[in-house]
Amino acid sequence: MTNQVTKSDEKTMDKKTFRKVFWRSFLLQGSWNYINGAGVGALYMILPFIRKLYPNPEDKPQRVSALKRGMAYFNITPAIAPFPMGIAASMEEQNKKLADFDPSSINAVKASLMGPLSGIGDSLFWGTIRVIAAGIGIGLAKAGNILGPILFLLIYNIPNLLARYYGLKYGYELGGDFIQKAYENGLLKIITKAAGILGMIMVGAMTYSTVTLKTILKFKMGSMTFNLQQILDQIMLGIIPLSVTLATFFLIRKKVSANKIILLMVVLSFVLSALKVF
């Protein structure tokens, strides 16, 4: 598979086309469905590029096959999508230039990148950046500060925009070679792992600041009153939030559905508050 961009002759992806494809990347999820994923959106995204590649009426057969190819099943973290689409665009260009290019390799590369890139994209954007943004946003918003939602949006969307812009740029320039190498030699795994570590630390911090359960249970022993919360605080601060969260996590790992857990929590909170435990 040869997919290095030949830099000698002028590129199909000029500045104007690049800008069009970049803005269209935001509409990727528009026709999302279970059968095709964001396949239609992926085609819509590189349509300006395909038009530029095959502008003439007599190119119709090639254009039609490019249109059909572009619409194949595609599902990926949206922020990461411009990167494989840039690669796909550079491969479409190769396909036109090289006689012995196998066009089926375009979708093969797209499909093989979808999994690992979504893995890294989900943990980076959903598990890490969003959690940091939400942590900071919630902290401020709790006190009614409007900076909460604003910072939340900014912290998430600046990396989101950068990943889109440079993803498309480098995807197109590098072609498929680079990322496949990173996948094979294990670099992608390291990035995913680092993102996971950061995500776990953030989730840990948020467990303390958001699960605010405290017991109001008191024992009477003769003339002494024991406040259970005080005793627990001496053992370990925040032991109730941590155990409740870990117990819930355990139930999820045991494949108990979220709805059943909600139901359980409804029952528990009514019973325990009636018994004056909480």
Binding site: F26, I138, A205, M206, T210, L213, F249
Partner: protein, 273 residues
């Protein structure tokens, strides 16, 4: 109720549009949606604070791969709107938001189902070389879903607010206490779901680290994030070094075996002669 209903319809439209027409820049999250509802209905502060509480509950619930266990956007918008319009506390609003978010999943399923039906047309247009038609249908598809949400937002507030408020006023104190406790317990589910997303064997220890940093050291969340970033960089650079060494040895080995192969083939050639 006409004006609030129109506002809520608009916010529903914007929220859902941001998902399918802007690739989900987190505008549809409770933190932002509740703020907008607060702004539109004249109680910004309550909106922001409701958003914080709801964001925690729905933190772990995300639409990855289209599987959405609950519709946090619709739940938060209605929960916040009812709380402000009926002058109810956060606890009641939270308890309304969760069941609404569970019900609202069906709207999403319906919209996705209809989009699936459009696929036949997209395929036909591609076959017939009509890129313009593909674009037009894509735009229609992007606007169609949000319009459904807007309609539901309008009807929900216009018809539902009065009856919900009567219901809320008749709730006895025991139940109100239970709802408050529930509001404190539900965030655990949000966090546990999030945990499930990023959990891998061996990284639970980092959760404990984050917890201790904020619980015993009382560090603000930004400080925890920065410490986390530094730790992640250190650990991944160690991993990178190990990987480099591994790649080097395997490439040496590969080179060595290649040489052996060459010798083998030489021998074969020798014996064949």
């Amino acid at each position: 109720m006409l004006v609030p209903a129109l506002w809520v319809a608009l916010i529903m439209f914007v929220g859902n549009f941001s998902d399918c027409g802007m690739s989900d820049p987190m505008i549809r999250r409770p933190l932002v949606m509740s703020m907008l509802v607060g702004l539109a209905l004249g109680d910004l502060r309550t909106g922001i604070m409701m958003g914080a509480s709801l964001e925690v509950i729905f933190l772990g619930i995300s639409g990855i791969g289209g599987a959405m266990p609950s519709d946090s956007m619709t739940g938060s918008i209605f929960g916040t709107a009812f709380a402000i319009l009926n002058h109810q506390g956060v606890a009641v609003a939270l308890s309304l938001a969760v069941p609404i978010s569970l019900l609202a999943v069906f709207i999403n399923q319906l919209v996705i189902f209809v989009r699936g039906l459009l696929l036949t047309f997209f395929e036909k247009y591609a076959e017939e070389d009509k890129p313009k038609a593909i674009e037009r249908l894509q735009y229609l598809s992007i606007v169609g879903g949000p319009l459904v949400y807007a309609l539901i937002g309008f009807l929900g507030i216009y018809l539902g607010s009065g009856s919900i408020s009567a219901l809320v006023h008749s709730i006895p104190q025991v139940i109100m206490n239970g709802l408050t406790v529930l509001g404190q317990m539900l965030p655990a589910l949000g966090i546990a779901l999030l945990l499930n997303m990023i959990y891998e064997k061996g990284n639970m220890i980092y959760l404990l680290l984050g917890f201790l940093l904020s619980c015993y050291l009382k560090l603000p969340i930004i400080a925890v994030a920065l410490i986390g970033i530094i730790l992640a960089v250190i650990l991944s650079s160690i991993d990178k070094n190990i990987l480099d060494v591994k790649n080097m040895t395997t490439s040496k080995k590969a080179a060595a075996t290649e040489q052996n192969d060459d010798q083998d083939s030489l021998e074969e050639d020798f014996f064949n002669d």
